[in-house]
């Protein structure tokens, strides 16, 4: 288990997601990487039925094919407090016991799936994000397995990303690592630089959740603003609503 960084890939105008993923996959192979299976990260959000006096709580349940026996979940209690949990897969069945209190928002079920590559100790995943069968964008996951702290290997990861993506990646640590807050001993929230923490699988899942939330928000903005929505996904991601490309994305190398 090592440090993982997510990087949304901007979709150039007039290009389909499947085309870009195919291109990136070929680039990785010519670099010397090997194709090593498929991956899937999915997310389902459950919302508490409104009760008088209590804020709406949201439970996000995620799975990561890299950890196939685990279910990752996060609860947002509506007042800014988040608690995360890693549990056995059975947790999914337990959630179904609570349908009277927590109902699944089916229309926001979102997932990223695609091909998985290995290059040295790097694991690179070219994910195409889909929500309700609609293609949303390309999300690149890069993991450097031998390292347990971002501050040690960020420059390496950055060089790798810039190398095969051909885009400029900011020198600063990704925002997930710098904007985390913790409750200190005095009970106050304070910014906690996460780049010096030992990295955990939950961090990967939290990053996915962050990006998924952005994609979901984007849709809401998109529809609200009549299709002229601006960026907000941590990068200038151009949304090409191309349902036809969903099947091809990430499955090109069967």
């Amino acid at each position: 288990m090592g440090v993982t960084v997510l990087q949304p890939y901007p979709l150039p105008d007039g290009k389909s997601g499947a085309h870009i993923i195919d291109l990136l996959g070929k680039r990785l192979l010519s670099l010397g990487a090997t194709h090593a299976g498929q991956f899937l990260v999915d997310c389902e959000t459950f919302i508490s039925t409104p009760q008088h006096g209590a804020p709406t709580r949201a439970v996000h349940v995620l799975h990561n094919s890299e950890y196939p026996a685990s279910t990752f979940s996060m609860i947002d209690n509506g007042t800014g407090k988040q608690v995360s949990l890693v549990a056995d897969n059975i947790f999914d069945l337990l959630m179904l016991k609570m349908t009277a209190t927590f109902t699944s928002k089916k229309q926001t079920k979102i997932e990223s799936r695609g091909a998985r590559f290995e290059y040295g100790d790097f694991v690179i995943k070219l994910g195409s994000v889909t929500m309700m069968e609609h293609f949303k964008g390309i999300l690149i996951e890069i993991e450097y397995r031998p390292c347990v702290m971002l501050s040690y290997c960020w420059e390496m990861i950055r060089e790798m990303l810039q190398g095969f993506l051909g885009i400029n990646v900011a020198k600063e640590y990704p925002s997930y690592f710098t904007t985390q807050t913790i409750i200190n001993a005095m009970g106050q929230q304070q910014v906690h630089p996460k780049q010096n923490d030992i990295y955990e699988p939950m961090d990967t899942v939290k990053q996915y959740l962050e990006h998924f939330t952005n994609y979901r928000k984007h849709v809401q903005m998109h529809t609200a603003m009549g299709g002229t929505g601006g960026g907000g996904v941590g990068g200038p991601v151009v949304m090409g609503m191309q349902p036809s490309s969903v099947g091809g994305a990430g499955m090109g190398r069967a």
């Binding site: 990487a33 031998p146 390496m156």
Partner: protein, 295 residues
């Protein structure tokens, strides 16, 4: 009935034996020695009496023995039967065990013979220094220093704050030091005396099992680093100044805390062939890719 007869016979044999013994004791004691006629007569008389007794008892024993019959069934001896060993081979599972241990010993013999031959041919051996006849020199004893020495030596080394170490001794007096360098890597250094015999390098999140110090890291980068630690081990080897060798080796090893942080000094890049610069220069401690080292 038979048992009774047998018992009587056994008692008779016992009596006979004790009488014979008494008789011989009497003979051995002899007379008072003064040659008094009276006592000599008494001695002979007593001997005759005993001798007659023996004769009559012998007859009795013979009679009793003739009266004995061959028992129709085996005697039931109660718990005493358990005293007897079971000697039938089939009943004891000794044979397969014997075969196994024989095979085992045979194998041990074969292997040790081969190992002995191989070790004798190995010119790279460092721990055992066989002095040649031509160049006589003082045999150094850096491999059998006292056990506390290595601990003292390690504690004298000035470690940076991010490095910790732990010493344990799974092989008798020889020490193994587990060194953890920042959150980057763990290394197990196996000493023989003060000489470094083996180094295993693993990732920070990997298990470094005390029972298995030889398993390789699952990460390519640490397998590569381990190769370099081995060549450095030979480079720093110095039988005449073993303490200094360990100290310089540890200094070199510590420079790995920037394993992922520093680009290659030659090409300026972090990654080559999917690996960071794994090689640290032995003098300057500068990082290089394996490929960039010689160009």
């Amino acid at each position: 009935m038979i048992m009774d007869k047998l018992n009587v016979t056994l008692t008779a044999v016992k009596n006979l034996r004790s009488n014979v013994r008494q008789c011989f004791e009497h003979l051995a004691d002899g007379t008072d020695g003064e040659g008094v006629e009276e006592s000599r007569n008494k001695f002979v008389h007593e001997f005759q009496e005993k001798y007659n007794n023996i004769n009559s008892q012998l007859r009795e024993v013979e009679q009793l023995i003739n009266g004995l019959q061959v028992p129709p069934t085996a005697y039931h001896l109660g718990n005493t039967t358990y005293l007897a060993q079971e000697t039938s081979q089939d009943r004891q599972a000794l044979y397969p065990q014997l075969v196994n241990s024989y095979k085992w010993i045979d194998k041990v013999h074969d292997h040790s013979f081969l190992a002995f031959n191989n070790l004798n041919q190995n010119t790279l051996r460092r721990s055992y220094n066989y002095c040649s006849q031509k160049r006589q020199r003082l045999p150094f004893s850096s491999f059998n220093n006292d056990p506390d020495h290595i601990e003292k030596l390690l504690s004298e080394i000035n470690y940076p704050t991010h490095t910790t170490y732990k010493v344990f001794r799974p092989f008798g007096s020889n020490a193994v030091a587990i060194v953890t360098i920042a959150n980057v890597l763990k290394a197990a250094i196996v000493f023989k005396g003060v000489l470094i015999e083996w180094v295993t390098v693993k990732g920070f999140d990997e298990q470094l099992d005390h029972d298995d110090l030889w398993a390789e890291s699952r990460y390519e980068v640490f397998r590569k680093v381990q190769e370099h630690t081995h060549s450095a081990m030979l480079h720093f080897y110095s039988p005449t100044l073993p303490d200094l060798a360990v100290k310089s080796y540890m200094t070199w090893l510590n420079s790995h805390y920037k394993l992922f942080l520093e680009p290659c000094k030659r090409c300026g890049k972090f990654i080559a062939n999917g690996l960071p610069p794994t090689r640290r220069d032995l003098r300057t401690l500068e990082p290089f890719h394996e490929e960039c080292r010689n160009c």
